[in-house]
């Protein structure tokens, strides 16, 4: 029988579940989000733990670096990310500070690989986000990244666009990051009423100027479609102003 433990999908709830496993020496077959249906051989267990805030305790014990690693894994879209985190931390008890050097362990290698993947996508989106200016000067952007990177890029834009009001919406996860010139808050889409977005008067002109620049700057004699696609995959194009018009053409 496979013992599948479920949790509510929040990071802190996962930490509580992991702490419970480590304290009681339980070895889960897998860990899944609520809503997991399971198959014939699965035994789905919901412990309904009393969730305490364990973040600082975890940081104290496992160290900042390892917590950073598992948080990035948590943000990823990997299927068995919770189990990878479990095994990564489990191995910490054995290898302590040397854990990250043990690349021959599957859980370490996977953790490092996924972290890099999430970090890379977040870095890409620091460049790929395209804001539109609304009538009330608020900047508004939509993205649909593979991993849940909204928080990471919000930290970046908080520093960069300090004196602007901005919203970034993750279409895939239906969440929005809202910045009010002091801090950003990540809300569910239905908690916020954003309809009837009216663009500012100069928005279309600016978009046209940018498109002009983009179309001019490529050197014709060096055209390299494959190279462009490697760096800027098509899956992101519909939210990138200057290339969104090319999607229909090539289909």
């Amino acid at each position: 029988m496979n013992n599948i433990y479920i949790y509510n999908g929040e990071f802190n709830a996962l930490l509580n579940l992991l702490a419970y496993f480590f304290q009681n020496k339980i070895k889960p077959s897998n860990i899944k989000k609520e809503g997991y249906l399971g198959n014939l051989f699965d035994y789905v267990i919901n412990l309904n733990l009393d969730n305490k805030d364990l973040t600082s305790q975890f940081i104290n014990y496992f160290g900042k670096y390892n917590m950073h690693q598992i948080y990035y894994v948590f943000l990823s879209n990997e299927d068995n990310k919770e189990l990878i985190i479990y095994y990564y931390l489990l191995n910490f008890f054995k290898y302590r500070e040397n854990l990250v050097k043990m690349r021959n362990l599957k859980c370490v290698n996977e953790t490092l690989r996924i972290c890099k993947k999430v970090g890379n996508e977040a870095h890409r989106f620091k460049g790929f986000v395209r804001f539109k200016e609304l009538k009330n000067k608020i900047l508004y952007a939509t993205i649909s990244p593979d991993n849940d990177i909204l928080e990471i890029i919000s930290v970046h834009f908080k520093k960069r666009l300090k004196n602007e009001y901005w919203l970034i919406k993750d279409e895939k996860r239906k969440i929005i990051s809202v910045y009010d010139k002091k801090d950003f808050y990540i809300l569910k889409e239905d908690e916020l009423n954003i309809k009837d977005l009216i663009l500012s008067d100069s928005e279309k002109d600016m978009e046209r100027l940018w498109k002009t620049f983009y179309d001019t700057v490529g050197i014709k004699e060096r055209t390299n479609e494959r190279c462009r696609m490697n760096f800027m995959p098509k899956k992101y194009w519909h939210n990138i102003l200057e290339v969104s018009g090319e999607i229909e053409k090539s289909c």
């Binding site: 050097k101 021959n104 460049g127 395209r130 804001f131 520093k159 050197i219 390299n224 462009r228």
Partner: protein, 403 residues
């Protein structure tokens, strides 16, 4: 003239400058707009696959110089335009707020005199920094021949300053750019090197050379680069394959820009900066040009096959870097991990080693991954050539020499 048309003309004239980097600066946002990101950020990629991080424009394409290879030379009959400082600020700020760009790359044709041009650049960038409180990345071109105090001023406003040497030898320069001379560029580089600090050109200086417009060899080009890296502490030298934009009997007629050659020069440039190679290791008087079919590192390894295979579990970091298929990242990972467990070929693969290349040059715990009898120059070279994906891409590379 409409703003859109100006932008088109002045972006079109600026696009042949290869530099696109926005890294190396940590400028922070003091309650204004924008900051610099240490690693740099690419915001878009143009149809030629080059990254767009900065709004790369000329202040004006009016120019008193007559450099043969340049679109904006005085004798060319092209439409001329000039931006006002306000126009540049408006575009930069509006693009930056919308996250289209990481900052501004401002260059210019020489209008009236070097000093006058430099003053215009300074006026524009001061406006951007002090009136618009712009904290993003700015890369400006220093104009050769301008006064030192203007150079001092400009450098204190920007993140990166560059002056292009354009051609690796004085002769080439005399031939194609009669108004330029090497000494003026060297003066700028020397000045920037001596004054560089956190508040003066924090991201360092770079330069560019045009490849294939004159008959210099790769050895000439790489020696020039090495010399500049050593004496001026440049961050980067960019290589730009010559694209014929003008007709002139002093210029070569090319069907295709020498992209493959440019690629090999960049690979060699990385070997100089990160892999501990010297130009003398890579090229000599008998072989003054790179092999187009095999990359410079592999071709070095093939010439020094007696030093291989290397044992990855014991050899030094510098030796690891000499192995084709092992880069800086994977070499560091190997060094970090190999004390803690017994490496296998599978582990190497997981660490990012490109085994299909490295296999020929390494042993792991004394084991060679391929048939030891096939360890010969011809066999390895043939296999490496077929692996070079670029060879498959560039259709006009002639398949010669082998088999």
């Amino acid at each position: 003239m409409e703003l859109k048309e100006k932008l088109q003309i002045l972006a079109d004239s600026a696009k042949y400058d290869a530099s696109c980097s926005s890294s190396g600066s940590t400028r922070i946002n003091n309650s204004g707009l924008g900051n610099a990101h240490l690693s740099g950020i690419c915001h878009s990629f143009a149809s030629d696959g080059r990254c767009i991080s900065l709004l790369k424009i000329l202040l004006t394409n009016i120019c008193i110089f007559d450099c043969k290879y340049c679109l904006n030379r005085r004798s060319n009959n092209v439409k001329r335009a000039i931006f006002t400082p306000e126009e540049i600020c408006e575009i930069t700020i509006n693009f930056y707020r919308r996250n289209y760009i990481e900052g501004l790359f401002l260059s210019s044709g020489i209008i009236k005199s070097p000093d006058y041009t430099m003053e215009l650049l300074i006026k524009t960038i001061s406006l951007l920094r002090y009136k618009y409180h712009f904290g993003g990345y700015i890369h400006a071109k220093a104009i050769p021949g301008a006064s030192t105090f203007l150079l001092k001023k400009l450098g204190s406003l920007v993140d990166r300053l560059s002056a292009n040497v354009e051609l690796p030898t004085e002769n080439g320069l005399k031939l194609l750019a009669p108004n330029k001379n090497m000494n003026k560029v060297s003066e700028i580089m020397g000045f920037v090197r001596d004054n560089r600090s956190k508040s003066y050109v924090p991201a360092g200086q770079s330069t560019q050379m045009v490849i294939g417009a004159t008959n210099e060899t790769d050895l000439d080009i790489m020696s020039k680069s090495e010399g500049m890296y050593n004496s001026y502490k440049l961050k980067r030298v960019f290589y730009s394959a010559y694209i014929p934009v003008n007709k002139d009997n002093l210029l070569p007629t090319l069907k295709m820009p020498p992209l493959k050659r440019e690629n090999r020069l960049y690979q060699a440039d990385w070997l100089l900066r990160y892999y501990g190679f010297k130009v003398d290791d890579l090229l000599d008087k008998q072989n003054p040009n790179f092999n187009i079919l095999v990359d410079p590192k592999a071709s070095w390894s093939l010439r020094h096959l007696d030093e291989f295979p290397k044992e990855v579990t014991t050899c030094s970091y510098n030796d690891l870097l000499k192995v084709p298929g092992i880069g800086v990242t994977s070499a560091k990972r190997i060094i970090k991990s190999r004390r803690y467990f017994k490496l296998t070929f599978n582990d190497l693969k997981k660490m990012g080693v490109v085994l299909k290349r490295a296999n020929y040059f390494i042993t792991c715990n004394g084991k060679y991954n391929l048939n030891q009898e096939l360890f010969s120059k011809n066999f390895i070279e043939a296999n490496l050539v077929s692996l070079d994906s670029a060879n498959k891409l560039v259709s006009n590379v002639e398949q010669l020499r082998l088999f």
